[in-house]
Amino acid sequence: MQTFDLEADGLRALNSTLHAQKEHTNATAWEIINPKGSHALAVGVDAPLDITVRGSTGYYCAGMNKLATIRIKGNAGPGVAENMMSGSVIIDGDASQYAGATGRGGTLVIKGNAASRCGISMKGIDIIVHGNIGHMSAFMAQSGNLVVCGDAGDALGDSLYEARIFVRGSVKSLGADCIEKEMRPEHIEILRDLLARGECDADPSEFRRYGSARKLYNFNVDNASAY
């Protein structure tokens, strides 16, 4: 395990050091201490590293991550794991707004709650939230899976495309063109795998599935009031 003191060595040195690690590096285990809510920690990592951040982070921690496993032993600020391509990001605490925004792959696990717009415009990422999520989550979500073990706020899945949403608790309201869909056996299996990857022991049968009604895919003036 290599330890990087962010307070002592600074952000630029941290990210450039992580970027310098190649795919087959032996130095895979990294620990970042004294993050103190700093922004843009461990962004753009492109190697199979195992990075542990000892504390809470600011904006965009693990942004555009590829291949790495990044564990945040605290809370995460806005835009954690934004546009993630692959790998995993696991947050022990809560996540602020836009968690996993536009993510294209990989797995984001939030063991606490997530604020508004979790999974906004997601494009293939899988997001597993152990707690609740805020309003406008999965807005314009295009692909991937959002699993919510607690409750969902207002306007869930507004203007949804092909992403799947699974919620165990209540949904305050559904957004435009988002509807509840039948939970078929294949969805149970998909959800079982997501929960396992999300380090969550919830029972898949307790969840309901939501998806796009696909009524707004092509503009129809009769649907104008939905926008």
Binding site: V43, Y59, E82, T102, S143, V221
Partner: protein, 445 residues
């Protein structure tokens, strides 16, 4: 006795200046369909523009440079503020962002070829980076848009500069639009969307909301790319003084400012014609903002929206821009709205010069389409050469004017070289009305 009384004269039928034939035709179209009109391009209404300015030229008080003998530099460097690798361009005319999806792959390739031959940059668009354009563009600017279609760190790193798009002049405050006819398999895959749907991208970025957030977003982009790439911030012309100020405070290396004549692939006609500022009205407030911060020329200003001639280029630079960007004019140079396709434009219910249904994907010139047969009409090599020629003419024309004004560098052009033909243009450009010393709006008048 026959009736010799004269026939009573009739007045000529009078058309309404308010309810014109064009307006009435739109009312009838709206009544028939129930939906607003969508089209491509920029504002078609007449607004104060560069044509309303004139250069004064040299005389006794200034002496000119020899047009064919004395050097007049055209090169420009963009991104000198923070980036380790600023962009070096031979000419101050760049190619604006236009998406693959809106344009065919051949058209994107042609833009890259033409820009590279001319020694300038081209820009991606709301659909990600294609191999055609990266492969044929020596200098490529990668746009970060609200939709983030195709966004990935590998393309960020292989870009030469990054442009965070806040808005564009044709539709400031609006998101992208690409209708189902153009969402082919390839476009759908790049954008992670189902084939054939109407794609309406977001108008706000998904992971930041205000200028304080933008500063952090720019930090993230710089960290991912090792602080090498210049970061541009593109804004639509609405409140150019404040938006330029905020973009610079957020950390932009370059501000790209797009007026309402700037084109779009598709949006509502009412949006294009009724939202935003003319390009001419944008430049001086933006320059003023840079000057007030002491950063004019350190943060470069790129102006776009209705640039057509070398005179337009020279006027934009004289008003304080460091470079300009062209989109619509570049498309015309490639072959858009060419009279050779007149019969096909007629079949689409339009005519050469007026064709703007770019969203329908049936472009006879093969530029704004994803139809393989139509796209094949555009030879990217020949079209790229035409673009290169056009860019060369813009540069030569701008040099001609600069030399006549006594400048050995295009960037030495200044407002003092200009006068205005109308009070509106004088007020917007903050140069005197021709033959006077009066600048409306300045000095309390």
């Amino acid at each position: 006795m026959t009736d010799q009384s004269p026939k009573i004269p009739q007045t000529v039928p009078r058309q309404s200046a308010t309810f014109t034939n064009e307006i009435n035709s739109e009312i009838r179209r709206a009544a028939a369909t129930g939906i607003y009109d969508i089209r491509g391009g920029g504002a078609k209404r007449k607004v104060p523009h560069f044509d309303d300015l004139l250069f004064l030229g040299a005389s006794i008080s200034r002496y000119p440079l020899e047009g064919y003998r004395e050097k007049c530099s055209t090169n420009v460097t963009l991104g000198t503020r923070f980036a380790k690798k600023p962009i070096e361009l031979d000419i101050p005319v760049t190619i604006a962002g236009m998406s693959f999806g809106a344009l065919s792959g051949n058209a994107k390739e042609a833009l890259g070829r033409g820009a590279t031959l001319a020694g300038t940059s081209t820009t991606t668009g709301d659909g990600g980076m294609t191999e055609e354009e990266r492969g044929h563009s020596k200098t490529l600017v990668y746009q970060v848009l609200p939709s983030r279609y195709g966004m990935n760190p590998d393309d960020l790193r292989r870009a030469d500069a990054i442009e965070v798009v806040i808005g564009q002049g044709a539709k400031p405050g609006g998101g992208g639009m690409l209708l189902g006819q153009k969402i082919t398999d390839r476009v759908a895959e790049m954008r992670t969307l189902p084939k054939g749907i109407d794609q309406r991208s977001a108008c706000r970025h998904p992971d930041w909301t205000g200028p304080d957030d933008l500063e952090i977003k720019i930090l993230e982009l710089r960290e991912i790319t090792g602080w090498e790439k210049p970061i541009y911030v593109k804004i639509g012309g609405t409140r150019p003084y404040y938006d330029t100020t905020l973009a610079v405070k957020a950390g932009a290396d370059v501000v790209v400012l797009d007026g309402m004549q700037g084109g779009t692939a598709a949006t509502q006609d009412v949006f294009i014609e009724h939202v935003g500022l003319p390009t001419l009205a944008c430049i001086r407030p933006a320059v003023q903002a840079l000057q007030d911060m002491g950063l004019h020329r350190e943060v470069q200003l790129v102006i776009s929206g209705g640039i057509r001639t070398g005179a337009d280029v020279a006027k934009a630079l004289a008003l304080g821009a460091d470079a300009v960007a062209i989109g619509t004019a570049a498309m015309v140079a490639l072959g858009d709205n060419d009279p050779r396709w007149e019969s096909e434009y007629n079949a689409l219910g339009t005519t050469t010069g007026a064709y703007d249904d770019w969203h329908e994907g049936r472009d006879p010139a093969g530029i704004t389409t994803q139809d393989p047969a139509l796209a094949a009409r555009l030879d990217p090599v020949a079209a790229g050469r035409r673009l290169r020629n056009y860019l060369a003419v813009l540069t030569l024309e701008a040099q001609t004017i600069a030399r006549a004004c006594g400048h050995n560098n295009l960037h030495n052009l200044e407002p003092e070289d200009l006068c205005a033909l109308t009070m509106e243009a004088a007020a917007m450009a903050r140069v005197p009305l021709a033959g006077t010393t009066w600048i409306p709006g300045q000095g309390g008048f």
